[in-house]
């Protein structure tokens, strides 16, 4: 079709605002208010895309999110988006769109050869043909098929756009802004309720924007404008145009996606491109309307084929003429409105009705409009490769399952079809709502009631505007009342004129239209699901091969998958399956509707949870000092902790060796603020701690500190830390950095649910205190410069604490050591952390005071054989496994986990035990996680998996040897500056009985022999802790 198909006047487009755009590189002009689809139709362009499997030319069938075909690739570069429907793209100046799934071009597409192979490519074709050989499928078949069958291209750069989320609540949420939705919102708002109204289109009004009706004596467009203005002015009403409610969940929780920028405007946090609304409503009114169904006949997919309702929309709303010579094929009364409107716009129209009898008033109207009507007709063929040119009709036989008589050919450039309407019941079904098939209206309607949810208008199967408005008014008011608002006066009823009545006989189902040959014998395709190229023959094949449950049929034929989720094709598909299997449609049932209703961009789901905002970054009060000192950071839970502090030109290895040397020979400083801290107060505090630690805490004297181990009830080590007795009824305990929250919660659990009789309160004080650890032979010397408190071993014993002023700050000093060296941990209020740190650095400048990070901390403690919970342990180790029986009280009758320590499994002799490991190659640091075996084999000799193939599955390779017994693994492994060699900690079966033996770590390219030794490598006698 060539030339402008734009009407000289009419429609809701703004002819004073022309917009230029390109489609497949060719320039066109549309108007403000157009969609890409309406602008293309106005330019006579119907060929939009190629289908997925057969690469058949496809056009525009619908006018909204239900269109299965007209997918395009929008924009370029990082902002390109694949598989958008032209019907949903609001036109903007400079828009660039291209067809998807075409090579090399839309007009000439190599993949169309698949269409010639179609007889061989029935449902299940790919699997049946290629699956028998896994390797062939992985390497050859799947990649080739994917290239041929895929839709658009994903962008290959990060999405530059900004998306955000918003969480809101309301009394009444109205989904859909058509006649029923507007009426519901109006009635609900009249009560003063907090109302939200969302509609996927840029303008409210729904089908009223395309219809000619009067409502309450006014043209319907005027009524829409007045109602929207009234809602807009209401204080407690929020209107959300361009917003699709994609899912309804439990307790009336909804997710809706608002398209805020629909052109190339750059988005920003101040102006996000899309916003995801999380809506919690007391009451929901579903006014989502309905979807028109196509009819299933031979070659029903030719470009130029369009649904009757869509044709009406393009005409009335966009002033775009879908055809000049049109044939309307219908099985219902409602489609006649399209025929009459086309005729009124000088389109030459013929109507072919599948029914034998058509109501008298309709035939009168057709006659008056000069439209020829043919009843009892079926379509037996459609010609026109890239655009429909001719339609062949035949009469149906008496049993209405075959054809009779002569073929009748009609030359047209538009084929308008209507198979009736299906209520958009998706959201009703998302929350488990059931459906029932309504024979009179030939559609599934909501059949179960749910508190707080009302289906109205088209969604309830009420297809006239009069019904929709009445539904909406009463449901909106009732919803507000149920939400707790006072009802006030009932809204005034609104008279509607112009509906085509929808009574008995308004529709007569015709699921599979009789043809010359049955679909599976015919060369023609009888499409059911256009997007997946599923035809009636495929459904017949599925039924024949036993896939006769509707869910099996869906998966076998792909009916209902894809970006449209079968909004057009589903009901036709299952009705045909019902017919083929001799069941009713009710017996056959529908597949499950699941969110999202329409596709959602990944960026929208992520919202602002991107980059640094993805997860909280917790920092200490000394963080900025670490940053300016050039520290490299390590993530420990959500914390950023300094990993090491490289000097210019230093490698990590050099920096860590230097930091270790400083702490062992001079003085090092660590920011230890991240440890979890809990105040335990109350007269039973000691008793409580006795129950949750393996050792005794009630006997601790005030001013003393004790190391403690916590177990789970299963006897496995779960956390460690220290307990300091501040006062008789008051302890401060520390937890691991990562375990702080879970330990706190678990302790509360015991207190609240098991031992509520204990008089104990827990308070998390992690961020009340900043802690600076000063460690090394010169630690005392340094600290003495900052405090008047005597720090000599006689005045300040190991494992005690004292309050003091340090650098003029109120502080508490603990003498505890995680390095084996003389150490003081100085705690001050969080907001004094930076001042303390800077004072320590300044005071120790001439002593070469060296800040060190977590890596050095790990090396130093490993040299001493100190475990780190979560590194040496993994929830499967008892204190005995770790060689820590010394900390398990023999006196206490009970503590958490005690009973499990004598379970048969925990006293097994072949349990893995903590050992030290010294590689024979003293210069080689074995990777942590390395498996340990007795047989010195390399991985090449062992059966193994190779990296994933194309489908993501690892490939299994047989090896020479059989699998070797795994005896344990390396848990920590470092270079030790103090030892002048590499060393490791590991877990080995019966490891403590094997000291002196050699064990092997196979590493793929080499196998490393290691000697099993005691896990304490440095200063075993503990001579250094007093300095």
């Amino acid at each position: 079709m060539t030339g402008s198909m734009r009407l000289a006047q009419g429609g809701r487009i703004d002819r004073s605002k022309p917009l230029r755009f390109t489609f497949n590189g060719k320039s066109y002009t549309g108007y403000q208010g157009d969609t890409l689809a309406s602008a293309l139709i106005a330019n006579g362009v119907h060929l939009i895309a190629r289908s997925m499997k057969y690469h058949r030319p496809r056009g525009i069938m619908a006018a909204g999110s239900d269109d299965p075909n007209c997918m395009v690739q929008l924009a370029k570069g990082a902002r390109t988006e694949p598989n958008l429907k032209a019907t949903q793209i609001a036109l903007y100046d400079g828009l660039e769109a291209t067809s998807v799934n075409v090579f090399p071009s839309l007009d000439f597409d190599i993949g169309a050869v698949n269409g010639l192979l179609a007889p061989f490519m029935t449902a299940g074709f790919y699997y049946k043909t290629f699956m028998p050989s896994q390797a062939f499928w992985n390497k050859v078949a799947e990649p080739v098929i994917r290239r041929a069958a895929g839709f658009g291209k994903a962008p290959d750069a990060p999405d530059p756009d900004v998306y955000d989320h918003c969480h809101v609540h309301c009394d009444v949420m109205v989904v859909g802004g058509g006649p029923a939705g507007l009426a519901a919102a109006k009635a609900a708002a009249a009560t003063g309720a907090r109302v939200m109204l969302a509609d996927e289109q840029s303008e409210f009004g729904g089908c009223l924007l395309s219809l000619d009706r009067t409502i309450g004596g006014k043209p319907c467009a005027e009524w829409v404008a007045e109602t929207v203005a009234e809602l807009d002015a209401a204080e407690e009403v929020r209107l959300l145009p361009r917003t699709t409610v994609t899912g309804l969940y439990d307790q009336n929780y909804m997710v809706a996606v608002e398209q805020r920028i629909a052109d190339l405007t750059r988005s920003s946090p101040a102006n996000p491109r899309m916003r995801v609304w999380h809506i919690r409503a007391r009451q929901v009114v579903l006014a989502a309307g309905s979807h028109e169904r196509p009819l299933v006949f031979a070659d029903n997919d030719r470009p130029g084929t369009m649904l009757a309702g869509a044709a009406l929309t393009y005409l009335n709303r966009y002033g775009a003429l879908p055809a000049r010579h049109a044939l309307l094929v219908t099985n219902n009364d409602w489609a006649y409105e399209t025929a009459l409107t086309l005729a009124a716009n000088d389109v030459q129209v013929t109507v072919a009705d599948t029914r034998r009898d058509v109501a008298g008033d309709l035939t009168d109207k057709l006659t008056a409009a000069g439209i020829a009507l043919k009843t009892n007709r079926t379509v037996t063929g459609v010609t026109g490769g890239k655009h429909v040119t001719r339609v062949t009709l035949k009469a149906m036989n008496d049993t209405r399952d075959g054809v009779t008589g002569e073929a009748e050919e009609i030359d047209v450039n538009g084929l308008i079809v209507s198979g009736g309407y299906s209520p958009a019941v998706h959201l009703h079904c998302h929350v488990g709502g059931k459906l029932a098939f309504d024979d009179e209206r030939a559609c599934f309607v909501p059949a179960t009631a749910r508190d707080g949810l009302r289906c109205v208008g088209g969604t309830a199967g009420h297809f006239t505007i009069a019904e929709a408005i009445a539904d909406g008014l009463s449901a909106g008011r009732a919803a507000a009342v149920d939400a707790g608002l006072k009802s006030g006066r009932a809204p005034k009823a609104l008279a509607v004129e112009g509906d085509i009545a929808s009574g008995a006989g308004a529709i007569e189902p015709m699921w599979l239209m009789p043809a010359d040959k049955a679909p599976n014998r015919s060369k023609a395709k009888f499409f059911v699901d256009y997007q997946n190229d599923t035809g009636a023959a495929d459904i017949a094949l599925a039924a024949r091969e036993g896939f006769d449950s509707v869910e099996h049929m869906k998966r076998y034929t792909l009916t209902g998958f894809g970006t449209d989720q079968g909004k057009l094709g589903n009901i036709n598909g299952l009705a045909i399956l019902a017919q083929l299997t001799g069941r009713t449609i009710s017996e056959t049932g529908t597949t499950t509707f699941r969110p999202p209703y329409t596709p959602v961009t990944f960026g929208a789901l992520a919202g602002r949870d991107v980059g640094d905002m993805m997860d909280p970054v917790r920092v200490t009060s000394i963080h900025d000092w670490h940053v300016s000192a050039g520290a490299e950071f390590e993530d420990v839970g959500q914390w950023k902790r300094p990993w090491y502090f490289p000097k210019a030109g230093e490698t990590m290895h050099q920096a860590v060796a230097r930091e270790c040397r400083a702490a062992r020979t001079g003085v090092g400083v660590l920011d230890a603020s991240t440890l979890g801290k809990i105040e335990v107060t109350g007269k039973d505090a000691g008793e409580f701690l006795d129950r949750v630690y393996t050792n005794m805490m009630s006997s601790l004297k005030v001013g003393f500190v004790r190391y403690g181990l916590m177990l789970g009830e299963d006897g496995m080590v779960s956390d460690d830390g220290t307990a300091s007795r501040i006062a008789d009824n008051r302890y401060l305990i520390t937890t691991t950095t990562g375990g702080a929250a879970s330990v706190f919660q678990r302790l509360e659990d015991y207190l609240q649910t098991e031992w509520p009789d204990l008089d104990v309160y827990l308070t998390s004080v992690t961020e009340q205190w900043a802690t600076v650890t000063v460690s090394g032979p010169k630690a005392r010397f340094l600290l003495e410069r900052l405090t008047e408190l005597p720090l000599d071993p006689d005045s300040f014993a190991f494992m005690t604490f004292q309050d003091a002023q340090v650098a003029g700050l109120p502080a508490r000093i603990y003498r505890i050591s995680f390095t084996g060296e003389l150490s003081f941990e100085v705690a001050v209020a969080w907001h004094h952390g930076k001042a303390l740190w800077e004072a320590v650095m300044e005071a120790g400048h001439d002593l070469g005071v060296t800040p060190y990070g977590t890596e050095t901390m790990h090396v130093l403690r490993a040299e001493k054989g100190f475990i780190i919970v979560g590194q040496e342990t993994d929830g499967t180790l008892t204190p005995d496994d770790l060689g820590m029986n010394w900390i398990v009280s023999k006196k206490k009758a009970d503590f958490v986990g005690k009973r499990s320590l004598i379970r048969p499994d925990t006293v097994r002799e072949d349990r893995k035990q903590l050992v030290g490991l010294l590689p024979d190659d003293a210069g080689f640091v074995v990777p942590e996680g390395a498996q340990l075996v007795d047989d010195p084999v390399t991985l090449k000799d062992v059966p193994h998996f190779e990296p994933p193939g194309l489908d993501g599955a690892p490939i299994y390779r047989a090896g020479k040897g059989s699998p070797v017994p795994m005896l344990g693994h390396v848990t920590s492994s470092y270079w030790s500056d103090a030892l002048g060699r590499s060393f490791a900690l590991g877990l080995v079966k019966r490891g403590r009985t094997r000291h002196g033996e050699t064990i092997h770590a196979p590493l793929g390219d080499r196998t490393v022999a290691m000697k099993i030794v005691d896990p304490v490598f440095y200063d075993a006698e503990g001579s250094r802790r007093d300095g």
């Binding site: 009830e713 919660q745 509360e748 009970d894 499990s900």
Partner: protein
């Protein structure tokens, strides 16, 4: 996302809570009195019930209180929430108790 009624704070979004598994499994008062099988049962065996189920939740980010919830595990419907130690509410419409109390002499009522 569910709304859960904290017995102390009222209806709150699910993200404020943490799950604590099956409710009414008390720590035995004297674990040493249990044989290995009984202790293993306490540690590891749970009903994993379909339908109405009594379970523990904690209002982690709110008042930090542990409490019990009677929830239908197939429909997510929450029939009741109640404080630790409060009497067990009945399952709506159920004639019998949710599940037979397990034969464990040390279990608290």
């Amino acid at each position: 996302m569910l709304l859960i009624r904290c017995p102390y704070c009222g209806l709150r979004p699910e993200v404020e809570f943490s799950y604590g598994g099956e409710a009414h499994i008390s720590r035995p008062e004297d674990p040493n009195a249990l044989n290995d099988e009984e202790w293993g049962d306490f540690l590891f065996m749970r009903a994993n019930q379909k339908g109405a189920f009594r379970e523990r939740w904690v209002h982690t980010h709110g008042c930090r209180r542990w409490f019990n919830v009677l929830r239908d595990t197939s429909s997510h419907e929450i029939h009741a929430t109640y404080e630790v130690g409060a009497p067990k509410p009945d399952v709506p419409g159920a004639a019998k108790p949710v599940r037979k109390p397990r034969a464990r002499k040390s279990a608290k009522p």
